[in-house]
Symmetry: C2
Subunit: 214 residues, 2 copies
DNA sequence: TTCAATCGCTACAGTCGATGTATCAATACA
DNA sequence: TGTATTGATACATCGACTGTAGCGATTGAA
């Protein structure tokens, strides 16, 4: 059910939270769900923040107490994936091949996207909107960039002997750039989820082979 | 005929333009210069479009007849570099190694940036602002993405036998991703122009070796 | 239980980026 | 010369976003 998939990330933390915080999370979820539904129905540009707030039964001002911008409501909870990839890097053995670590980190993100947003259809909506709404596309790219930065930093710290800062950035940049570019191309071509995933894997393999560890 | 739309970017054809068009270019230039000066003086967010228009002695509405957004005034003429890279791809021999073609395309862009914006200090301003102003950063990334798409398409058409669409996207994505990520890291580290350029070259080489043409 | 501090939320006013429309005046062109 | 084109303007409007003051519900301590 929709309720489950949307609240699953919060569910296990709810126990320890006070009433005030629980109410806050409830309005946040209400805003997200209202936004997703409205965007899906009428398109991103045809929905105003005021309408989202109205559908969630809060004041327009409240929207911006929960999200920095109209775009951000669609990118909520996206940090989870980055954290997964980060952990895959920080928790690897110091003697593992770079390519394996990088591939595993990327696999983490893809896999999480798979059974998270993809099953709920949220990923599809986001992809569709990001392809057609410039403002959203820009914001999404920005997220990628900051994630890249974090990954590069983590990688460099995990392999200080083998990687300088620039090489780490280049490596992560190449990986993320290749995977997202191929995914986007596949999406634009009208490929289904499975084909998109294959495209991402293909891109990953292409870059991984350049990290043959010298 | 396609060349026309690509090359007619104002630069050389100025001579033969009518009075009306020349006036138009003059106001456009005035807007750009006013914007750059004001941004440099007081920072991006502290300057309104109305003020830019005022400094250029035109109406605020006129600004948006020349630029789609406030951000775009800083990215004016950036397409020239993409065109250079595109030509480097379309004009290559069909039997050249992929890595060489890609590297040459990237070199074109870097070199052009070098003696164009870099010497005028515009690149420095843009880098500084892009690093500190999210809206600008996002818009810049978006430009990169569309450029990537064009490059990938050109590459795939130049080597239809050796590259499928996905691989072409992945390749270009890896290259652009690596180069821009390393450049950004170098910039953030406070590196000077020469070091930034070296970082870009280093990233390029890293990716190029993965395209050993199989 | 009570009191005070905290904090999510609201109402209101305002700034600014961006767009549609009607119009003027200079240029282009027949 | 007369007509069409078009860059620029004035005016109105929308919508994203912010600052501020204040209300009322939770919270934690006395």
């Amino acid at each position: 059910m929709h309720y489950c998939s949307l609240t699953s990330k919060v569910a296990h933390m709810v126990e320890k939270l006070g009433l005030r915080e629980r109410k806050k999370q409830r309005t946040r979820q209400a805003l997200i769900e209202a936004a997703v539904r409205l965007f899906d129905d009428r398109g991103y540009d045809q929905v105003t923040v005021a309408e989202i707030a109205d559908a969630a039964e809060v004041s327009p001002r409240t929207f911006f107490l929960h999200f920095q911008s109209k775009e951000d409501v669609l990118l909520a909870n996206a940090d989870v994936r980055v954290d997964l990839a980060l952990r895959a890097i920080t928790e690897c053995g110091a003697d593992e091949p770079l390519s394996e670590v990088l591939v595993r980190a990327m696999e983490q993100m893809i896999a999480n996207a798979w059974d998270g947003d993809l099953s709920s259809g949220l990923a599809a909506l986001r992809a569709r909107l990001a392809a057609s709404v410039p403002a959203l596309q820009a914001r999404l790219l920005q997220r990628y960039l900051t994630a890249q930065g974090e990954l590069a930093q983590a990688l460099q710290r995990a392999f200080p002997a083998r990687l300088d800062t620039i090489t780490a950035s280049a490596l992560v940049g190449a990986m993320v750039g290749a995977v997202s570019a191929s995914a986007l191309t596949a999406l634009e071509r009208g490929d289904g989820p499975d084909e998109v995933r294959n495209a991402m894997r293909q891109a990953m393999a292409l870059v991984a082979q350049s990290v043959t560890d010298g």
